[in-house]
Symmetry: C2
Subunit: 188 residues, 2 copies
DNA sequence: GTCTATACCTCGATAGAC
DNA sequence: GTCTATCGAGGTATAGAC
């Protein structure tokens, strides 16, 4: 096992645990157990717990960018691409009901902790915001593209928050259908 | 200082700190310092930290019920009352940008902690949900009142989440105006 | 590069004086 | 009813053997 492999493994498991349990509630012992290394070994790869958080955020930024690029390359029109975004809620429904949106809950937790990495985490939202604005611009809504992007982003966050609290699948399905109809209405 | 006074004071400060910093990040030492009592004295009033959480949730349920009752008694129509609900976002804007929605963030944190009190915290949402459904029913939307209530509740949660992440006042104002227009359109 | 052992701190919680 | 003193567990982080 090279150092890079172990490091990547740590970041991957930390990413999952930070999402499932929260950043503060996840101890280095949890991560070490998941990666099957000792707690001491951890400090060969990272100097502090905050450094892991930074690495996790960078990892999420990378995977998010890759996902958006993939959607962009898949050859549909802007409407199809916005539906890809909404489909995140469909595909991750179970996880969202259990742990919320990975982006929204991380930003929320870091805000409460008054953590310096809060602005880095918010860049994850910015990635979606700018990408969505690009799609709405392509649909001929260049003037209010950013407002439309924020609106849709906010709708997904609201659905995720209520999904966690109520675990009401009917509500999720209805809101998703409503969002799709709203998007279609923007272009018509 | 009677025991009831001290207890009430503890719950009041715990309520504030749980909102500002989160439940887990707030230690008994924080609360004791805010109330200006010793850590030991704490255990005369509560046996565990979880018991404080229960008391905080009950306090929030009580103050929320009182607020909804006040709105109901204030003598406007259902449309005015729904606007009172939306105005929470206006009046608590600064706090929401700093710490999010007190209900949404508590439910989210307790879900990640897999905490038994999570369902109690969700009752705070249920209070708003049922009250809003009553208003929509009064507006002649009895058949889909609950769906409309959940939709509006979700919208406010989305705004709160993005407000914390972006601290973008323009976005908050725009979404509030949009929500008001949406409510008006439901009754027309 | 990974380990064991451990330092040091803060946490929730308890005991007992006043 | 409030205090001081303290316990044991578990947190982050470090030292040094292998």
């Amino acid at each position: 096992m090279t150092a890079a492999d172990t490091r990547q493994h740590i970041v991957q498991e930390a990413d999952r645990l930070f999402y499932e349990q929260g950043f503060e509630a996840t101890s280095l012992a949890h991560i070490a157990a998941a990666v099957q290394i000792s707690r001491g070994n951890f400090y060969y790869h990272f100097r502090t717990k905050d450094e892991i958080l930074d690495a996790v955020i960078i990892r999420r930024l990378d995977t998010t960018r890759a996902m958006l690029d993939r959607w962009q390359a898949e050859g549909g029109d802007a409407l199809d691409r916005i539906f890809c975004f909404i489909d995140i809620l469909v595909m991750n429904r179970a996880k969202i009901m259990a742990h919320g949106c990975p982006v929204g809950t991380l930003c929320g937790e870091l805000a409460k902790l008054d953590h310096a990495a809060g602005s880095d985490a918010a860049q994850l939202f910015t990635l979606f915001r700018d990408w969505l604005a690009g799609q709405f611009a392509a649909l001929g809504r260049r003037r209010d593209a950013d407002a439309l992007a924020l609106h849709l982003l906010g709708r997904t966050q609201g659905v995720a928050t209520l999904a966690t609290a109520f675990r009401d699948e009917t509500h999720i399905d209805r809101e998703i259908a409503d969002m799709r109809a709203w998007v279609r209405a923007q272009t018509a």
